[in-house]
Symmetry: C2
Subunit: 361 residues, 2 copies
């Protein structure tokens, strides 16, 4: 309101407008000043104003000051849409993650958003519910509305998404997954290695019968890769897998299923910490003590794992670092056409209290 009044008054001397205002019930939603307004106020051409914004070096000092003053007076902010239309740069990217409900993605996104915003890029978050069809749809609409790049989770996607990426050749980075051979640059950990780290630890502690509790394998290549990593480890123990929902509830249910088996495992390996904490609760509910009755190992290293009682031994995944690196790589790819190379982040075993050597009977 104030702005419109201001501009009109200023440019067209429509003083009568003041009385208009009185008769209006809805205080009209004020327009913001545009380049032409600034140019008129500063007494220069629109080109000069544009130069002040984009290459101030070429503008003479006192012209620059005049324009700057006009910009301040009108509180002028260039329209992002108009800029986007010419430059093709919309200054936002999209991230496709399975869910916000798992802290591991929330932490990743927090780092991603922080780093992107340092690069003057906004982030649009789209959740896919771990459904590759939904993922492809949301990717399409991100592209349609002008995303300059995508962050996607995992390497396996629907044909529709692969097509989209091939057609548009949009900068897109795969995260939570490392594979140097992947057609798209991957920035993440080697999921097979990460799972092996956890299993090897249990093996080193002497455990032989191990229950693996994991999330859905459908539409989730990270879980599949972790599982095949486990199976690929040269080790002669016995693995039993339990698929469940990735949630505390899912973990608790996994624990119940394990307890209903005739023979208890030596240890339980959970492919994510959310599930591990759920399993811990589930075991407690069944009166089973960790680690005395059974050892427990997770993967992710969520903050809760360090605080739980017993503290959960897990594999630390550097998701914040992954967010920063993915943001940096994507920002550079967009601005310099510099396609990043794959980057492998290492998981690290965090030995805590939930896994102890197998008691010899």
């Amino acid at each position: 309101m104030k702005l419109v009044t201001y501009v009109n008054t200023f440019l067209n001397e429509q003083i009568k407008r003041t009385s208009n205002t009185l008769t209006q019930k809805t205080p009209e939603p004020k327009k913001r000043a545009n380049l032409r307004d600034v140019a008129k106020v500063a007494g220069v051409s629109v080109a000069t104003v544009s130069r002040v914004l984009n290459e101030p070096g070429v503008v003479k000092k006192d012209t620059l000051e005049k324009v700057q003053a006009a910009i301040d007076a009108l509180k002028f902010v260039p329209s992002a849409a108009a800029r986007a239309i010419n430059s093709g740069r919309t200054r936002f990217v999209g991230a496709l993650v399975p869910t916000l409900d798992n802290a591991i993605f929330a932490r990743f996104l927090a780092a991603l958003e922080r780093t992107l915003s340092e690069r003057q890029l906004s982030l649009i978050v789209a959740t896919t519910d771990s459904d590759l069809e939904i993922e492809a749809e949301k990717a399409q609409s991100l592209v349609d509305i002008g995303a300059e790049g995508l962050i996607i989770t995992g390497a396996a996607h629907s044909d529709a998404l692969h097509d989209l990426l091939n057609r548009t050749m949009l900068p897109a980075i795969v995260t939570s997954f490392y594979d140097a051979e992947n057609p798209l640059p991957t920035i993440g950990y080697d999921n097979a290695a990460v799972a092996q780290l956890a299993l090897q630890h249990l093996a080193d502690l002497g455990h032989r019968r191990i229950a693996v509790v994991h999330g859905p394998v459908h539409d989730n290549d990270r879980t599949r890769t972790r599982l095949s990593g486990l199976r690929a480890l040269p080790w002669t123990g016995e693995l039993t897998t339990y698929e469940t929902e990735i949630s505390h509830r899912g973990g608790a249910e996994g624990a119940r299923r394990i307890c209903s088996q005739p023979q208890k495992p030596d240890a339980i390996l959970c492919l994510s910490d959310v599930v591990a904490l759920g399993v811990l609760f589930g075991l407690q509910a069944e009166g089973i003590t960790v680690p005395d009755d059974v050892s427990l190992v997770g993967i992710d290293d969520l903050p809760s794992s360090a605080v739980a009682v017993p503290a959960i031994t897990t594999v630390h995944l550097p998701v914040s670092q992954m967010g920063e690196k993915a943001a940096d790589a994507l920002a550079r790819w967009i601005s310099d056409q510099e396609r990043p190379s794959a980057e492998r982040l290492e998981g690290r075993l965090m030995e805590r209290q939930s896994a102890i050597p197998l008691r010899s009977i």
Copy 2:
């Protein structure tokens, strides 16, 4: 430039382009078709194509089909930026939340995003780290890049943000907070009432000495309101407050501080479930049993609270519903100029195992 090449090929049958391609090292990032291209292919004017997109009813059937065919053939998708420039509608809104690290906000955002996307609106998430200065800055840049509306958390904000909202009169909805008198529409729960619900429950169970563990009050009106709600309850017991970080770690530390006091409280009331779970862990680490030694109550009703052992008695906050309602209200406000009225969502006590009647000695 690239666009010219593409259009030429398509429209003027410049077959030589094939050989061009061979000499090019970089497979050019093919630009998408625009309105003019579609119009040319369909043999109609740009106005007609625009009508097909926006008011297909007024276009004759066979013209419509011709245009539709051209759109499909060229895989034409209208540029969001160009639309935004004329209509002023950018079709995205911004949400300012303190953090993604607390599941309560992650759950809220998930519902918000889901509902907004049904209304063809994208969501840009900005985290403020519970800092009102950062909040104002991020709000400003959301507005600068064209957000059509804002979702903000809590009613207390910096002058800069209030100024921004007054100046632009942008649709903005306050969530996680109910106050019918607030200048902006609020959609949320009455934080004082919610805290009272929890305290009343403990009071009803006979507890008299209650430790309250809560997050920072600085820059957080929700916590302040909950605390003053507790103090306003007509009740003669004794409250001791412990401020800590909102995290599992913060809760555990709170538990340690409580345990270091000469006299133990009857019960512990945590103003958020994340803290409550941390307190539970902290107490377990100190060898104190919940609920036998001390009762514990939280607020939020995160999924983990139902699964924890003991399951944590808490006040359920309908955050998913809040996300849906906020999204609906904001979408309607934006499209119909229909300013929503405040909406109060009720918290609900979830009685579980962590709080039991005070044992008479």
